[in-house]
């Protein structure tokens, strides 16, 4: 195993920082000693050690650039390199958000242009780019609905979610102080319309829906759902995590959604960076434009500016403006694709998922007979009867150099394994994956222990997660307390 950076301390003095042409004084000359720290126990390994350390660490990871990464619901498509280069242009990086508007014209114009494109793709009226994740987008959307109801003096306190929804949906509802109401899915895997009709009443503020849903199925009754929700004065919220399947096919506005979020880090190819930064752009219908967080980017004459005058704004959801670097990448991607490129994404994403479904359905149980969209969910129930779980199968895939699909989600499918190939993978890669899944399935009968004890070729063997939770070790504790005052060159 790699040593921790803290165990590589060489006490190398730092030479990155220019010494100012001043008589440098100790902190105690400016600040009373009781406010100052006595020791600073950071390692100083030196540049080569640090470069080696993090390069070696990086090599222990699977990533899209190296591996097929069919992590369901996460849309791990290829991240074009031009996007990275453009996001790192000096004139974007060296901009402080508190500079004068006239210094920011390029940045603001990019945001303005991107918003226009997203409005066309989704049919929404305006977007905010403040939310830094899908979940924060959900919270933003729900808080707008809450404020709307407060102003209209509507007594509403419930939000409906399907039991198959992403965990962030109910968690966001709770953070907004609304009550979560679950609606079940039918055996086909779609929202149970009859149950929905029974649940709905005037106390419902909204329903949150992912479409295609987390089983990878299109909610065919979407227009009925829309009517049921709108008829009680409630709003339909679109969790756009799965929008990749519908680019250019339909628009959330046409499906009847009032507020939506798009995960730019999924659908629009901005990389996930070990879990973030992302960006959950929130689009709204006309009714909610006055509720958007501030500031938004507007144009007066030829000038772009940050507009803080939004009548019923919910306020702010973060400091500064947005995760701008993510916007540059998404914009670059959208310019590259254009309208026909976007449509092709939907076509091929759905094609690839259906191919996996077709080839694997005789080996793994399908929870629904419905045609799938961009991802396919199987249940490993049959394998479980032989003592092999979805987790075991996932870990075995690592030995084939494949990142495991999402497992145990959606929660309503037993031993779920959720596969999202994305449009950027070709048939050859899909065949390799399919063959691996079939081989693993065969090995369950021949050599179950091999599967149970997998992975065998990863940098570590199966990690003891139970121990991690029982014997919490969440940070390195330095053993030697070296004095702050030694080894300094100021």
């Amino acid at each position: 195993m790699n040593k921790l950076i803290f165990e590589k301390d060489n006490k190398v003095p730092c030479s990155y920082i220019r010494k100012p042409d001043l008589d440098i004084k100790e902190p105690s000359n400016f600040i009373p000693r009781e406010f100052l720290r006595e020791t600073l126990n950071l390692p100083s390994p030196g540049e080569l050690e640090v470069v080696r350390h993090y390069t070696n660490l990086s090599e222990l990871n699977f990533c899209v650039d190296k591996n097929f990464y069919p992590l369901g619901s996460c849309t791990m498509k290829y991240n074009p390199k031009i996007n990275e280069e453009l996001a790192n242009l000096e004139n974007f990086l060296n901009i402080h958000p508190y500079q004068d508007n006239k210094d920011l014209q390029g940045t603001l114009e990019l945001i303005y242009n991107l918003e226009k494109i997203l409005c066309e793709i989704t049919g929404m009226s305006r977007f905010t780019f403040q939310p830094s994740s899908g979940a924060q987008g959900e919270l933003t959307g729900l808080l707008m609905i809450k404020k709307y109801n407060k102003i209209k003096k509507n007594k509403k306190y419930k939000v409906i979610v399907p039991t198959s929804s992403h965990g962030t949906n109910p968690a966001s509802i709770a953070m907004c102080g609304y009550e979560v109401v679950n609606v079940n899915t039918t055996k086909d895997g779609l929202v149970d319309i009859d149950e929905l009709k029974n649940i709905v009443d005037n106390s419902v503020a909204a329903m949150m829906l992912t479409n295609p849903n987390t089983l990878g199925l299109f909610e065919e009754d979407i227009l009925k759902i829309k009517d049921i929700i709108h008829n009680v004065g409630a709003f339909l919220y679109y969790d756009g995590a799965n929008f990749n399947a519908l680019l250019g096919i339909t628009k959330p506005s046409i499906m009847g959604f009032d507020i939506i979020h798009l995960n730019l880090h999924k659908t629009f190819s901005t990389p996930h960076g070990c879990g973030g930064p992302g960006l959950g752009a929130v689009g709204v219908s006309k009714e909610f434009v006055d509720f958007l967080p501030v500031p938004i980017v507007d144009k007066k004459g030829e000038n772009f500016y940050l507009n803080y005058k939004v009548r019923n704004t919910i306020g702010r959801i973060r400091s500064f403006i947005c995760n701008f670097s993510v916007l540059v990448k998404a914009y670059s991607y959208l310019l590259r694709l254009g309208s026909s490129g976007l449509l092709k994404i939907a076509y091929i994403a759905v094609l690839n998922a259906n191919y996996i479904k077709e080839r694997l359905k005789q080996y793994f149980e399908l929870p629904s007979e419905k045609p799938c969209m961009h991802e396919v969910v199987f249940s490993c129930k049959r394998q479980k009867e032989k003592g092999i779980t979805a987790l075991d199968i996932a870990k075995s895939l690592i030995d084939y150099g494949i990142h495991p699909p999402t497992i145990y989600f959606p929660l309503i499918v037993k031993e779920a394994i959720m596969i999202e190939p994305t449009e950027t993978e070709n048939k050859k890669t899909l065949d390799y994956f399919i063959d691996a899944m079939i081989k693993i399935n065969e090995e369950i009968d021949k050599d179950p222990n091999k599967i149970k004890n997998s992975p065998h070729k990863a940098p570590v063997r199966r990690v003891d997660e139970v121990k991690a939770a029982r014997e919490l070790d969440l940070a390195y504790k330095p053993k030697d307390v070296s004095n702050f005052c030694d080894n300094r060159d100021v």
């Binding site: 990533c63 004139n91 899908g134 694709l337 950027t424």
Partner: protein, 445 residues
């Protein structure tokens, strides 16, 4: 244009296997009423060359801060970033990976985050740091919600001298609930009014939220604030600049319960304020209430050291509405970048960054004293940032801006009329400061 590798033959073959006649057929089960009958009204796709030109030209419409002699701060500072930070943080195995759910093929990410968590614990003196949150303001809101969960009390006392955008974010985050927010004022020192705080605090007070160094740049008497909180069993949530902790005492040593803030100062680009990352650290006793991911060190099947996400039962993908937060995507990449920055600088480097910023800011302060039109409304100790006052500050500001000097952040819009918040980083030189002073003298004398 697209990034699709399947050939026409591949597509034909797959369609045959799945029993479809065309790609359109894949969508034949969608209701007819919702399917678009024409293509999106967008341009055709462009070549990479055209996209590069177009976006590069957009960027050239910006005037970057490097063209100015800038003293702008206010929560985001222009520090030096070693080349190796940029190099290492562009490694594809960090850029194009997802949240490390599958430990065995994500050990590098997990160890790097564990090291990040350790760094935050070393700086703050606290026991536990989450794997990162979204940005400074939302990490503050999460910290407040966390404290409210811990003691289940109903009132929040917030310092008037936290960053105004953080306060606004907090109010948005709390707008779904019925908690009472009380604000506590400040003295002519530019720090919290402790007498007023003492009067406001009562048995319903869940927490005292404050920032140090505060929004105006001044260092709070943390020990006294914590002491007042402890008298009634309230918790303390402190926003800080992690760089200041290279010289200022660890908040844990004063007994602060939750420390949070913006981590961008640790090796992040300004980038128009994003992407940033939020950090949040707390005591071990509160670990089960912490929001966000946590990486733990454990062993594998062979007993070898390894890492994995842990205490996931707090999180939304398992607990749904009972989770500690809705957070899923975070800013792990930026947190790893911070760990890389701290490792490269080492203790000597980080200390120098803080020390030079401190010295330059105090030199600037001394030089500004020479200008008789400028006054200093507050008198307390400061780190890299302080506040000065000049009548007609807006016109003063514009005059200097025209001369390519940004004399700080105008606080008029934050209700401190004619006040300007000014900061120095180690990137400033004595010459920069001398030129600034000379220019003011030229304008006013």
């Amino acid at each position: 244009m697209s990034y699709i590798l399947n050939t026409k033959e591949d597509i034909r073959e797959i369609l045959k296997i799945i029993g479809k006649n065309s790609l359109e057929d894949l969508f034949s089960h969608l209701p007819k009423e919702i399917v678009l009958d024409k293509s999106l009204n967008l341009n055709d796709g462009l070549s990479e060359q055209e996209v590069r030109e177009r976006i590069k030209n957009l960027s050239l419409k910006n005037k970057p801060i490097s063209e100015y002699n800038s003293f702008l701060g206010g929560g985001l500072y222009d520090h030096y970033i070693p080349s190796a930070v940029k190099y290492l943080s562009s490694l594809p195995e960090f850029v194009s990976a997802y949240t490390p759910y599958q430990a065995e093929c994500s050990q590098g990410i997990l160890q790097a985050i564990y090291e990040y968590q350790s760094y935050i614990c070393l700086l703050t003196g606290l026991d536990v740091s989450c794997a990162s949150l979204l940005d400074g303001a939302s990490s503050f809101a999460e910290g407040v919600l966390m404290a409210l969960r811990i003691n289940k009390r109903s009132e929040v006392i917030v310092s008037s001298l936290i960053h105004p955008e953080y306060e606004r974010t907090l109010r948005t985050y709390l707008s779904g609930f019925n908690f009472k927010i009380k604000k506590v004022g400040f003295t002519e020192n530019g720090t919290l009014n402790l007498k007023e705080l003492e009067n406001l605090i009562n048995k319903d007070t869940s927490l005292i939220a404050f920032q140090s160094p505060n929004f105006l740049g001044y260092i709070e008497d943390i020990e006294k604030i914590v002491c007042l909180a402890k008298n009634t069993g309230a918790l303390t949530v402190m926003i800080t600049n992690p760089l200041s902790l290279a010289i200022l005492k660890e908040p844990a040593k004063f007994g602060v319960d939750i420390v949070c803030g913006e981590g961008n100062v640790l090796g992040g680009d300004l980038n128009f304020g994003g992407s940033c990352f939020g950090f949040l650290a707390t005591k071990m006793e509160f670990v089960r209430q912490i929001p966000g991911r946590l990486v733990g060190r454990t062993t594998d099947l062979n007993g070898n050291t390894s890492f994995c996400l842990t205490l996931q039962a707090r999180e939304q993908h398992i607990r749904r509405e009972k989770a500690t937060s809705n957070i899923c995507s975070n800013s792990s990449f930026n947190a790893i970048r911070a760990a890389i920055y701290l490792s490269l600088l080492g203790k000597d480097g980080l200390y120098k960054v803080a020390l030079y910023s401190l010295n330059l800011a105090h030199y600037l302060y001394e030089r500004l004293k020479e200008i008789k039109y400028i006054s200093f409304p507050f008198s307390d100790y400061f780190f890299n940032e302080f506040t000065y006052k000049i009548s007609n500050s807006k016109s003063f500001f514009n005059k200097l801006y025209k001369k390519k000097i940004i004399p700080g952040l105008l606080l008029n819009k934050f209700n401190f009329s004619d006040c300007i918040l000014i900061s120095c980083t180690e990137k400033k030189t004595k010459e920069d400061i001398d030129n600034f002073i000379l220019t003011i003298k030229e304008i006013y004398e």
